[in-house]
Amino acid sequence: MKLPQTHADAAAEFLKDTDRSHWHDDTLWHVRSKRDASAQKIPEWEQLRTLASQIKDHVLSNLDNLLLQFEKNAQANGIEVLWAKDAQEHNEHVLRILEENQVKQLVKSKSILTEECGLNHFLEDKGYDVVDTDLGERIIQFNKQVPSHIVMPAIHLKKKEIGDIFHEHLGTEAGADDPQYLTEAARQHLRQKFIQAHAAITGVNFGIAETGGFVVCTNEGNADMGTHLADIHIACMGIEKLIPRAADLGVFLRLLARSATGQSITNYNSHFHRPRKDKKMYLILVDNGRTKQLGREDFRNSLKCIRCGACMNTCPIYRRSSGFSYNSTVPGPIGSILSPGMDLKKHSTLPFASTLCGSCSDVCPVKINIHEQLYKWRQVITKEGPSQPSKKWAMRFGGKVMSKPKLFDLMGRMARKSLSISPRGFVYNSFNAWGKHRELPEVPKESFKDWYKKNRNK
């Protein structure tokens, strides 16, 4: 059986292009710095994080009742509510809605959930042309890629490459790479798509249980351009996106954009409660593994995530390895604790793609203990998952040596002796995976134990 590509191997691919990897690192660090500056302006920032975390704790502990309340209120508002236990059912709901309403053309705004469900491919196989309208998503859709970041989907691409993509797909001038010019071309192109669309698909940032409505946040206004012109609005929502009260939005909207990009708020924050007159609004509530994650005590609070991406921007591994190296819809630290819950085999190397420095947990607006969960997943995976043979062997050997003090002393003496006389190629070779990117420390003359024996009476 072929094992899935490891995170380290995929990251190595990305790192071959040194200039790009440095640029990627710097760009994301810049976003992280903007987040810091923005958060520091709010004296009650830490209090808001605690509140957000407590609200989400309550939601997870009362999710069934809140979902029922949400559904009841949404239905009273004239929204048709559908439930989907997995990605397949979600996609089939969307297809049925499109067929029932004889939709030919549809536009879609950013939704990580529909990425998770593979909706675009599913609909394209049925003959639909799905037009992603977020600029970043349109770029990668042209380029036949998936998002490499949940907030900045095309962050891996340089403007010259985007210029080439637009030249091919939108007929912009060859070699033109001015962001203003390229954005204008996309604007003209997408405006036509908005005008023609019969249905608009959006994600949901927050569902409000007490009012039966939902909130969608964008900077471009693409979700609104789509939904207010089309006859059909389909909103796709993970069941964990609920909040109990409208007033909770005060907390979450203050945290979301500041955490994501350092903006005080996204420029458009739309509250949908009822469809336009004679138009239709559907809301699909999706489980797809979320109830399972709810049952895992150690990993449950990963479901509090509001998808701001702050943990990615701060992560030293993400910044230097890019989103694609994770091979998961949600990359970065949060993806590395969510994805193993969906498919442990496929994502078994992700919890190891971390230095456990804890920066992700420090910036998380809902206080998810991300780095602790990464460490916990490592333990689960090492116990039951497919660990790399070299690592397994090394751990077993290390465990044996360290459990026997005499053997440990002997091995120490042997290592100090042999390392100091061995030629470099003998130590740094393909058997020493650890030494691939690391230098061993200078070999000491004696062990600490020996040094202590000699010095304790001085």
């Binding site: 209090q47 954005t183 458009y268």
Partner: protein, 192 residues
């Protein structure tokens, strides 16, 4: 068992013991809200101007929008040159150059203005227009989002939106570009 039933059953089985829902404390905002608002909207790519009366706004329009073929005003303070009643369908708004709206509340910390759909006539209007002007009385300025959610009932309207600036994107190498799909500018007039 339906999907709804199986999802709810799984939640009941897997959820932790009930944890309390916290109350919202107050976070009072101090200082000059007008100045805070101006600085916030600038960061979002828009601008706020203080206006003494309709003539200030009219002279602004004369300078910046004298060539507008389709200027649509839902404000009683200044007039446009196109009657929204003529637009039966939002698609009829495709060529609106400028929309002038009246905001219900403004939030100083982030420049967001609450616009329930009754103030838009068509939900698409503030998005499809090439430029947007919003008029707001200074006494409708609040400090932060907590305050505004205390005063509005979001489900009173079928749709409502906080707009905090023009349509913008930074999806190409993090370069800020104003005018992604919607308005290429947003100007807020703060009225006495």
């Amino acid at each position: 068992m339906s999907s709804k039933e199986s999802i709810l059953a799984a939640i009941q089985k897997n959820k932790p013991d009930l944890l309390p829902l916290p109350e919202h404390p107050e976070f009072p905002v101090e200082g000059d809200l007008v100045e805070q608002y101006k600085s916030s909207i600038k960061s979002n790519g828009g601008q706020a101007l203080e206006a003494k009366g309709p003539e200030d706004i009219r002279s602004y329009l004369d300078i910046h929008f004298q060539d507008s073929q389709m200027m649509l005003s839902l404000s009683t303070v200044v007039e446009g040159n196109f009657d929204i009643a003529l637009a039966e369908d939002p698609h009829d708004l495709e060529h609106v150059d400028l929309a002038i709206l009246e905001g219900e509340w403004g939030v100083a910390e982030n420049a967001a203005i609450w616009l329930p759909e009754e103030r838009l006539k068509h939900r698409a209007l503030p998005f499809i227009a090439q430029h947007l002007i919003v008029l707001l009385k200074k006494d409708r300025l609040l400090g932060n989002m907590h305050e505004v959610y205390q005063l509005i009932n979001v489900s009173d309207s079928g749709y409502g939106v906080f707009i905090a600036g023009p349509s913008k994107t930074a999806d190409i190498e993090q370069s800020l570009v104003i005018g992604a799909h919607g308005p290429r500018s947003m100007t807020v007039f703060l009225l006495d």
